[in-house]
Symmetry: C2
Subunit: 344 residues, 2 copies
């Protein structure tokens, strides 16, 4: 079967893991769950020459130095440096131009956590087989709670190892999310996709001809610099930013979904990060100089000062530089709106 | 009536307000409740020439520089420097030797908070009148909760402005404390006493003759140095440390109690300190660079780094130097046992 080309999307930064994640130390490049950064873990997950070719990273000028530093341990990695952010449809299209047209691309966000690498790799192979038959395949992550922060995918007619997509659903309200969970035929859309490069570009040209044309021009006018590729900024700037979901996946007649249960988390906030880390017998997760007394399910981490905690449960305490964050797990989604996070 | 000599006992430090209170920055000398330190507030409370003479402070060598610095704004204050700590019976006896025998001493701890100064002063005058008649008077602080950390005083036969003491009670268990509260004839023993110096020394000599003799010798062998008095260390070292409650108040036949409701707190831990401070509409108390979101009854204070808090209730968060403390109000009594507090 065709070689799978991992395409790692490495843009954005997010503010909900502030104060650890900051403008100049963005989420993908931090060792949040274990010793690897999320970006390194994404590359390592695909570093299996039996199944994967070298990765193509699509990133922005702001992240370039982080990417180059952390990708150095993964020989053969190529990097496309976007002159400005134009969302995922354009980013994936850039990568599609830089691999063989009949190659299968496996598009992966760079800031998610996947606990079960083998399940991921098996699903990648299954998805690649469907992609090789002309399908545009989304990973359908087993929904384990009624999340309102994710898109959902409803399964339709069965295929080998997967299903046709019946429909993509926007972030639902809680009641809808609960009905999806009860229904059992919905998965989370984790933004992981597999398709042939040529198939993707054909579908993009069909549904977003202007976007497809602008990307082609940006690639044609671009230049290589060692492992880096720089698209033409003038052409790229004209692109209307759109997600791959809106531009292609929701419009194509050939969308498929491969269900997968692989311990996935988008590490979207301190609550999710707490859950992704392995806890001690009391469910506590600590890093750095921390003393906990009568605590349960507390995440406490510090880059210097000692943290001493008594009697707390389900709270995150983060000390980073000149910032101290204390939040309940329920409040974790509001971290991005704190003055410290918003005014970086 | 006789002039009242305030005798301010300024020893010990305590660890339960760590990390703000530290070995080298002890509790009495910190501006914990308002802009005055607890020690300054104690002196200011008695700085009323209509009712009080200049204060006599009894302190230890370790606290001397703090005392001298903060007492400088209160002219006439004299300081007795104990060569080593020998508990309150000896400390009060030292002061009793340094005022006229017929003067009334008003013994005050230096690390408590009293919200209602007028109520304190009125009670002091009432107590002084009874002291002038030969009573050894304890302030009986109106009990407002079933505290297990305080001693209690049971009222007996009424006197003018007070009562004979029926008995002193050690720190009770919770059930006993609740019965005291329901009974209504028990007050908290806050360690504030009034008696004539001569009466006190007579009672001390009656019940603890060796202690009384050693103090007399320490005073006879001592020396003055400006506003300071240094007892003889050799004589003072021989003293068996004992509290004034054990040595005198529980033994004398002439113990009286003056009930008083004056917004008293021993500021014994972060819970008590939270309650002593004035809160905002949500009951929060902050100092320094603090942002609170969805918080209630939170105390948050920092000497530098910003604290950002989401969703917490009844929690204290204290940042001081290289230490970050986070404790529930219920857990506040365990602060002294934290490694940071215990191993200073």
């Amino acid at each position: 079967m065709a070689v799978i080309y991992p395409v790692v999307l490495c843009g954005g930064s997010g503010t909900r893991l502030w104060p650890r994640s900051r403008k100049d130390a963005p989420k993908p490049f931090l060792p949040l769950v274990d010793e690897d950064t999320l970006f390194e873990a994404t590359l390592r997950r695909c570093a299996d020459p039996q199944r994967f070719g070298p990765s193509v990273v699509v990133t922005g000028v702001g992240h370039r130095t982080h990417v180059e530093a952390q990708a150095a341990s993964f020989p053969g990695t190529r990097v496309i440096v976007e002159p400005m952010a134009r969302n995922t449809a354009a980013a994936i299209a850039l990568a599609a131009h830089r691999v063989p047209a009949d190659a299968v691309m496996l598009v992966c966000p760079s800031d998610h956590h996947i606990a079960d690498t083998e399940a991921f790799r098996d699903a990648a192979v299954t998805a690649a087989k469907l992609a090789d038959e002309g399908w545009l395949v989304a990973f359908g992550i087993t929904a384990t709670s009624p999340e309102t922060g994710y898109g959902y995918i409803r399964r339709g007619t069965p295929l080998a190892g997967g299903f046709e997509v019946e429909r993509f659903v926007e972030k639902p309200d809680l009641q809808t999310a609960m009905s999806f969970l009860a229904d059992g035929s919905y998965s989370w859309n984790g933004g992981i996709f597999a398709f042939r490069a040529g198939t993707f570009l054909e579908e993009l040209a069909r549904h977003r001809p202007e976007l497809a044309k602008a990307v082609s021009e940006a690639v044609a006018g671009g230049h290589e610099d060692g492992a880096l590729f720089h698209p033409d900024a003038g052409a790229f700037a004209t692109i209307e930013p759109e997600s791959v979901d809106y531009a292609v996946m929701e419009n194509t007649a050939r969308a498929a979904v491969v269900p997968v249960s692989m311990g996935w988390s988008d590490i979207g906030n301190w609550h999710a990060l707490r859950d992704a880390r392995v806890g001690d017998a009391e469910g506590n997760r600590t890093r750095g100089d921390v003393e906990l007394v009568d605590c349960r399910n507390v995440l406490a981490e510090t880059d210097g000062p000692r943290i001493s905690v008594i009697g707390l449960e389900d709270v995150a305490i983060v000390v980073d530089g000149n910032e101290v964050l204390v939040t309940t797990m329920a409040g974790a989604q509001k971290v991005g709106k704190l003055a410290g996070a918003a005014n970086q």
